[in-house]
Amino acid sequence: MMTRTARKLCGTAVVALLLVHSGRTLPAQEPPSRYTPFDVESGRNLYQGNCSFCHGPEGDGVPGVNFAGGRFRRGSTDDQLLRTVLGGIPGTAMPPSSFSESQAGTIVAYLRSLAQSAAPSVPLGDAARGQLIVEGKGRCLTCHSVNGTGSRVGPNLTEIGATRRAVELQRSLTDPNAEIRADNRTVRVVMQDGTTLTGRLLNQDTFTLQLLDEHERLLSIEKSAARTYRVLGESPMPSYREALSGSELADVLAYLVTLKGRPK
């Protein structure tokens, strides 16, 4: 795991990527087949762990630059972007990165995906009211945790505002099945005796599954002991499209985007 300092350094590197050279706007639409969801997700993980502290989850953390809007200051081709991610920009705050070329390539894939999915503006309400909903009516902490409070079954939200775009959070709240990341896949196992186990997939091999079940138990299951097992295509998270009003959703979003990590 990278230290926070290292992450900031890397993030700074990507900031510099955007600061130096003349402005350029990418085409609004890129051919959709160049990168696969796997590339994009790998790149997103790297971006969010290393770059978003400076660039922001929206890719607009640097003045004059907006990844989601397709505004880059350097490079128009994937290759130029990749070289900038790898080599940094001498004389600026952006040092060379320690990414492999392959890793840098996935970051480019993610930046391209951001440009393809320019986010509509997301309404943000009152963060304090949002926190009350998360901890109360929304019952979010029955699955998620914030700063150590809540459940570990679902994704930890403590840094969610630093790593996820508001539009992504909005989509997760209203349409949780739209995108399920590999780290958040749910597996359902029906054992030979009919017992059903559901949990987050942690690891797998040809013969076994490792999961964190809904009771926060770490389980390792022999596939041969299961009648069936299936990685679910749907999220266990309910949609809040109807459960919350529009203003309540805006409040929750306003709260989530403030979650940038544990207070030091």
Partner: protein, 558 residues
């Protein structure tokens, strides 16, 4: 030569015949143990002494097949661990051991030779080699094993040397310097002995070397012949390179070839052109990269070649072991060469002439629309400055890890990467001696092999590994054993109808070679990244494989 199973002989009778053959061979083998020396005649007939493992692939035909049959589909469940050898290196442990008369020889990465008791794992001696700090192998400081002739062991090193050691005590016999490590040349291949020469191939295409195969006098280390894998001046293939691009054309050889004594031809798979992912400056087919070449073993003269991926921009090395088999082809006996290529196609060639007989994809392939009647790819994807998605990925549908051909089942077994892909981006690249000369490493759907435990949450459609069995005559897949993660393990088959292999998940397992059914498995706690072997000591059969940084040897419970 290994026996062929007549299709009208039932398997159980064939198995019984083989057991009789093995038992009959034991006194003969015992006699050869007495004098100990590994004469080339023994290597050429290695199938007749299956208690030993005398070459990288177990025999000159490259089949990684053993006549040992004490471990059977019925009793394989009784295999238990006998000993473990812990390597002192954390580098990838890719060496296939040799076993000679109860002594095992292997290479602890990068270039330490170890002799140990094959029945207990106790070490006799270690020869420590300190490679030059100028060595820069592209993809790990690895070594794939040794060769033996007489009382000498041969190892090629990552800093461009080939050395001979006394097999009794590890003493240095000779040390030949063949290539400059500072220019990117390195050896990772296990040498192949043919008659009285030691053949090695050089790696370094990722640094723009001009690849070659070299045959050295086994007694002195003097070079007898050299074959350049990149066609230069005076070679008819020279016109397949634009301008001077041949001078930095790559063409590494990093996996051991095979040999047909009747034809006196040695077959080697040749690696990718340089630079890997940008072909702009090397217009043309770029011979003999991504080819298999058939060379006169005495002179090194090229008899024929077959190029699988002309003008490759995907890094589809063709270094896979060229497996030789004598099969029935269209109703008549035929000497063929089987090669499951990194480009995702399985090929059958006539090994006398190089004629293309069959080529079929064994995994998803999108880099080409298919092969024409001569086996040449038809329309091929072009790379640009923006990414191009292609199946199979840069690691290929298979790679360096050994396939196997079983004369018993008549099937060819491929350790495969199924549904893996990569995004290739063309990037300007300039040659500087000793510097990387590749272009942009593609974004991959599956990671390169790295030490340590891996977490895998991929869905099957996002890429996985498999052992696949193919009928060479039809190219039809007979069965597939799917794994959740990919594999870097070779395959071993035995006369009793067993198949041994492993994978990144750290399992070492045995399958029924006829059906693919899982018969036994053991968790080694580390990724399997070499090819299993089998041998016998005192009549007891062992099966050995590397998992992580250790070598494990199994035998039936006594």
């Amino acid at each position: 030569m290994t026996p062929r199973r007549s299709p009208d002989v039932p398997w159980h009778r064939w198995e019984r015949r083989l057991r009789v053959l093995v038992l009959a061979a034991v006194p003969v083998c015992a006699a050869s143990v007495m004098h100990g020396q590994v004469l080339f005649e023994r290597i050429a007939r290695s199938a007749e002494e299956p208690q030993n493992w005398l070459t990288y692939s177990g025999g000159l035909m490259g089949q990684r097949f053993s006549r040992l049959a004490a471990v059977t589909p019925t009793n394989v469940k009784n295999l238990e661990l006998q000993w473990v050898f812990q390597s002192r290196s954390l580098e990838k442990f890719e060496a296939t051991p040799l076993v000679v008369n109860g002594t095992m020889y292997t290479v602890q990465p990068p270039n330490d030779v170890v002799a140990l008791d094959a029945s207990t794992g106790r070490v006799f001696w270690v020869y420590q080699y300190a490679p030059s700090p100028l060595a820069r192998p592209c993809c790990g400081r690895v070594n794939r094993g040794l060769a033996i002739l007489g009382d000498s062991l041969f190892m090629a090193t990552i800093d461009g040397h080939v050395i001979a050691l006394d097999a009794k005590n590890g003493g240095l016999v000779w040390n030949a310097v063949l290539a400059k490590p500072e220019a990117g040349y390195s050896f990772t291949v296990a040498p192949l002995v043919i008659n009285d020469v030691v053949i090695v191939g050089v790696a370094g295409a990722e640094y723009g070397v001009r690849g070659f195969l070299s045959a050295l006098d086994a007694r002195t280390g003097q070079e007898r012949w050299r074959f350049f894998t990149i066609a230069g001046e005076g070679d008819p293939g020279r016109t397949s390179w634009a301008g001077d691009s041949w001078k930095t054309g790559g063409g590494s050889v990093w996996v051991t070839g095979s040999y047909d004594a009747d034809l006196n031809l040695t077959y080697w798979g040749i690696g990718n052109p340089g630079p890997d992912w940008n072909g702009d400056e090397r217009q043309g087919d770029n011979l003999y990269t991504d080819s298999v070449v058939a060379l006169d073993a005495r002179t090194g003269a090229l008899k024929w070649y077959f190029q699988f991926t002309p003008h490759d921009v995907f890094d589809y090395d063709s270094v896979q072991v060229p497996v030789l088999a004598d099969i029935t082809w269209r109703g008549r006996p035929r000497k063929v060469l089987l090669l499951a290529n990194r480009n995702g196609f399985f090929y059958v060639l006539d090994r006398t002439t190089g004629e293309f007989l069959l080529g079929k994809p064994f995994v998803k392939t999108t880099w080409t629309t298919g092969l024409d009647e001569k086996g040449r790819p038809m329309k091929v994807l072009e790379l640009g400055a923006d990414g191009t998605l292609a199946f199979p990925g840069v690691q290929g549908g298979t790679n360096w890890f050994s396939p196997s051909y079983s004369p018993g089942t008549g099937l060819f077994y491929i350790p495969s990467w199924v549904d893996t892909y990569a995004t290739f981006t063309k990037r300007p690249v300039e040659y500087r001696e000793g510097q990387r000369f590749t272009g942009a490493l593609p974004a991959m759907s599956v990671r390169l092999l790295t030490p340590g435990p891996l977490v895998n949450r991929r869905l099957p459609e996002e890429g996985h590994g498999a052992i696949q069995a193919f009928d060479p005559e039809t190219g039809d897949k007979k069965w597939e054993f799917a794994m959740t993660d990919v594999t870097d393990s070779g395959v071993l088959t035995t006369a009793s109808g067993l198949l041994f292999s492993g994978g990144r998940e750290g399992y070492f397992f045995a399958l029924d070679a006829r059906t693919g059914a899982l018969l036994w498995k053991a968790s080694l706690g580390g990724q399997v990244s070499n090819g299993p072997i089998t041998y016998a000591v005192g009549g007891r059969q062992f099966v050995a494989v590397v998992g992580g940084n250790a070598l494990f040897s199994y035998a039936l419970r006594q």
